[in-house]
């Protein structure tokens, strides 16, 4: 068995059919599929270890707590965090960014007249929370453009980082362009001016080995469901300095040390940010999910495979007349391809491709400002994972050509 076949065999959903055709799942940037190791633990959390955590003294609660905290430790190891105390579990990337934005406001780190800097290639999740924060305090949002190759314009970025800027929030990899930003360099530029950096790692964490300490960022956020874990669990990595400094986000159980009606003291970081009953199953499942991701990222054969898939995908896309690939000149990209086809509406193409077994994303893909600048009608996006095969990509080319000939 090849490495790809071996990986693929661990994802039961990939053998299902759609409309009588074998499923080719190309919407991985929206959510990835789950391997047996994750599915099995997800089930075990229900049939074996279901209890609330951090509280009771009984066996089930101890087991659940241990598995949840094991998930946190696994995530810390996976991203090279200083310790598991730097890992806050949230419901996803969106929740992580909202947490930081809201706490910047509540803690007085973002005030009237201040600025937040983002890039043009952000997902709505890294735009709207900052708009809300800025509106609350009377701060403003500054947007730095991207270069033709899809990376953020470093000169314009540097110019935008004025003393009023209180945080730079930028994507590791754009969910539309698939281009990898030089986040270590970007962090260095911001830090030279004393500006903290939040990296949206929703796409980046899946396809690149991330070492938060090497990057030097203050926050790195991502979702579990894009990296083999279930939906509803996400990660906020923060430096000890920031996690200590920020006030709590939500109040409630599990985030407190001592409560009286007059005064409450809070639990230590990271529990300070995890009010209420967490997604215990999701947190636990982060362990097998990131272990799986790690084994793939460290597999040389898989790196070679990604390279082959990229070549094949580009050949297939180039075979369609009138097709324009976004950020085609990217120096470094993940296997994510957004494109437009002249005379073909993405909704129509996605509908026909679905009938042929191909799951693609179409539309604005939660990055309306960027997509609107590239197309009037939205785009199509094919995003691959290590379990996608050359054969699928070649079949995709045939299907796409067929759909286009029907629609023109």
């Amino acid at each position: 068995m090849s490495a790809v076949e071996e990986i693929r065999s661990q994802f039961p959903i990939l053998s299902r059919k759609v409309g009588g055709k074998p499923l080719a799942y190309f919407d991985n940037a929206a959510t990835s599929q789950r391997p047996h190791s994750v599915i099995d633990l997800q089930q075990a959390m229900t049939v074996q270890h279901n209890a609330n955590i951090h509280r009771a003294v009984h066996t089930l609660s101890n087991e659940a707590t241990e598995l949840y905290e094991k998930g946190r430790k696994a995530v810390a190891r996976f991203i090279g965090a200083e310790s598991e105390n730097n890992i806050v579990f949230t419901s996803g990337t969106t929740a992580s960014i909202n947490l930081v934005a809201a706490c910047f406001v509540r803690g007085g780190f973002l005030k009237q007249g201040d600025k937040v800097v983002i890039s043009y290639a952000e997902h709505h999740s890294n735009i709207v929370p900052w708009q809300l924060a800025c509106q609350t305090v009377g701060a403003s949002l500054e947007v730095v453009p991207v270069e033709k190759d899809g990376t953020v314009d470093l000169q314009r970025l540097e110019a935008a980082l004025t003393p009023e800027v209180k945080i730079l929030a930028i994507t590791h990899v754009s969910n539309i362009l698939g281009v990898v930003n030089p986040i270590a360099q970007i962090t260095e530029i911001a830090h030279a001016k004393g500006i903290p950096v939040l990296i949206d790692g929703a796409q980046g964490i899946v396809h690149r080995k991330v070492d938060v300490q090497a990057i030097g960022c203050d926050f790195y956020v991502f979702s579990g469901h894009k990296i083999y874990a279930p939906t509803g669990i996400g990660v906020l990595y923060g430096t000890e300095e920031w996690l200590e400094k920020l006030p709590p986000f939500m109040g409630g159980g599990d985030m407190v040390a001592k409560v009286t009606f007059a005064h409450t003291t809070y639990a230590e970081v990271p529990l300070k940010f995890e009010a209420g009953t967490s997604n215990i199953t999701g947190g636990a499942c982060m362990a097998p999910a990131v272990e799986f991701a790690q084994s793939v990222l460290e597999n040389g054969e898989m790196a070679e495979n990604e390279h082959l898939l990229d070549g094949a995908m580009r050949r297939q896309l180039a075979s369609v007349e009138g097709l324009t690939l976004a950020a085609a000149e990217a120096k470094e990209r993940i296997p994510l391809y957004s494109f437009t086809i002249e005379g073909v509406h993405p909704f129509d193409a996605a509908t026909l491709l679905d009938k042929m077994g191909f799951a693609l994303r179409s539309g604005h893909m939660c990055a309306e400002p960027l997509v609107d600048s590239l197309s009037q009608t939205g785009m199509l996006r094919a995003s691959l994972m290590p379990y996608n095969t050359l054969e699928e990509v070649e079949r995709f080319g045939e299907a796409l050509r067929r759909a286009v000939s029907m629609l023109r």
Binding site: G19, H345, P346, F347, D348, T351, L352, K355, S362, G363, H364, T377, G378, M406, L407
Partner: protein, 137 residues
Amino acid sequence: MTIAELQEEIIDEFSVFGEWLDKYEYIIELGKEMPQIEESCRDDSHLIDGCQSRVWLSCDNEAGRLRFRADSDAIITKGIISLLIKVFDGQTPADILAADLGFLDTIGLKENLSPTRAGGLVAMIERIRRYAADNLV
């Protein structure tokens, strides 16, 4: 013909297609053949913003019967719209409001009507019903 009869006619037409491909080729054909909406109606006031495809709809009341014209930038959406127009055009507001659109399910296009489907059709049907309600005597 009544709305129910027109729906039956469409169901008959679609019954010859065994393959999804033939069905969609026919829908695409219908989309391409659909008469253009007046250029002046392709504006924001006639726009029904679905998430992914835009739909324009105009409605005129001609002696108690509603005349619909529509357009979309997506051809499959347009084809399905032409089926809706066929069913609703020239009908009375009361008949439109009482209509059951079961035919879209019968001919296998139900997925286009799920509320999360991004094609704008659900919003379009709502707009047709609203026009009908507004014109109810």
